[in-house]
Amino acid sequence: MAPIIEGRSNEREGIVISETAYVKRNYSLTGPENQRAQDRGIASAEWYATPIPRKRMKELMQRRNLPAIRDTLLWFALMIGSGILAYYAWGTWWAIPAFLLYGILYSSPADSRWHECGHGTAFKTSWMNEVVYQMASFMSLRPATPWRWSHARHHTDTIIVGRDPEIAQPRPPIWRIILMDFLRLYAGPRDIKRMFLHSFGIIDKEEKDYIPPSEFRKTFWESRFYLLIFAGVVFACIYTVSILPAMFVILPSFYGAFLLLVFGMTQHLGLKEDVLDHRLNTRTVYMNPIFRYLYWNMNYHVEHHMFPMVPYHALPALHEEMKRDCPPARRSLWEAYKEVISALLKQGKDPSYTIVKPLPATAQPYNYGPTITGDNRRVQ
């Protein structure tokens, strides 16, 4: 099997990769890869960061309420508007596009608002972040406490196999899961199952790896509360002899989820595992203003991972600061998808395949971490 390091400038980095077979890996947090990552010194490790003068960084980190209040009010207005349309279209064929619109406006911003408010950077005022975080967590069906800790781990050990609970796909990819998740049919039931377990006071082994025991109690009560809302919606459906109530709450997390998967798949897929440099395992993609509104600028994903304290509204400016030190951003969602799908197809045949984009001449070299290749092949 020939080593495939697409676009890699070996001369600059002076790296030689041997031809050894790829060993299929165990992505579970409870498997041997967890300890292996710790032994290799790539768990909770120090990551590369683009040098940015402190003065500029402080400007970029500044928090503001106005952009997030404006965006949140607009989000509510759009949801209410499309919800009214959908309500009046119920019983006609117009209900299909109307609910599709409502579902997208419910689900996609819920995901990005969950994310930004979880970091606590969207609003300047803490309680505003927390209120929107709690609401968006429910709308995303991601219970607030366990997912806060899952996401913290994702930032500590981004795409480190055996450590990161948010690796979207193993290598080779599982297409069945990708297709199911266009309607959240894999992740949704998994999260609901966990809610049931939590409501009975059970935390699964995987979650125990990243949720500290001091947070268990909160996790249990949160899930009980979520399930109470579920019960209320089911009761409303039975009472009205219609699934209409569920079409407005809970079901949009499924039928409206496809756009968040479309966005989410651009973040890390096809890129390196087990490296200590977000430029190698994360992708920045230019998107149109509507997508950027729905996604709250998370298309600037390298920037976000490298500097999570920069709020979403400052990410385009941060991107300008970092450009000289990063591989070129993918110019559109379409370009990113061509890259992602082609990489996933290639990984189906050769799981060791990953994309490494060349860096501009002004950039610092990549930090591959202690294993250099970041995959399961040896380095000579």
């Binding site: 909770s44 402080k58 606590g120 806060r148 800790w149 913290a152 500590t156 999570p308 304290m309």
Partner: protein, 107 residues
């Protein structure tokens, strides 16, 4: 750097901008020294109590320092953990200024 009666000179008063933080290493220890908007000075351990990330890269907002890694927060005047994933308070150290210098008292 001079040591007087258990106090260690950390930096000049103007080495830290208002509402900012700098790193101060001493031997094998590391600290974060803060200056408020009113030019009061404070010091804490340098590394976050959640993971080993230095707070000097973080953001100072009033009396809060936000950690650069996971956005956990401390009140740096008291050391109290204010926002998850930070759960454990951070150690604070007495600070005084004299002759344009900032001193911290270590234990």
């Amino acid at each position: 750097m001079s040591e007087l009666e258990g106090w260690v000179e950390a930096c000049g008063v103007d080495d830290i901008d208002e509402e900012d933080v700098i790193r101060f290493n001493y031997g094998d220890r590391s600290f974060a020294i803060y200056r408020t908007e009113d030019s009061e000075y404070y010091a804490t351990d340098g590394f976050c109590t959640h993971e080993r990330v230095h707070l000097a890269e973080g953001l100072v907002m009033g009396h809060i320092i936000e950690c650069p890694k996971h956005n956990g927060r401390f009140d740096y005047t008291t050391g109290k953990a204010m926002k998850k994933p930070v759960c454990i308070d951070i150690k604070t150290y007495p600070v005084k200024t004299k002759a344009g210098k900032v001193f911290i008292q270590m234990d």
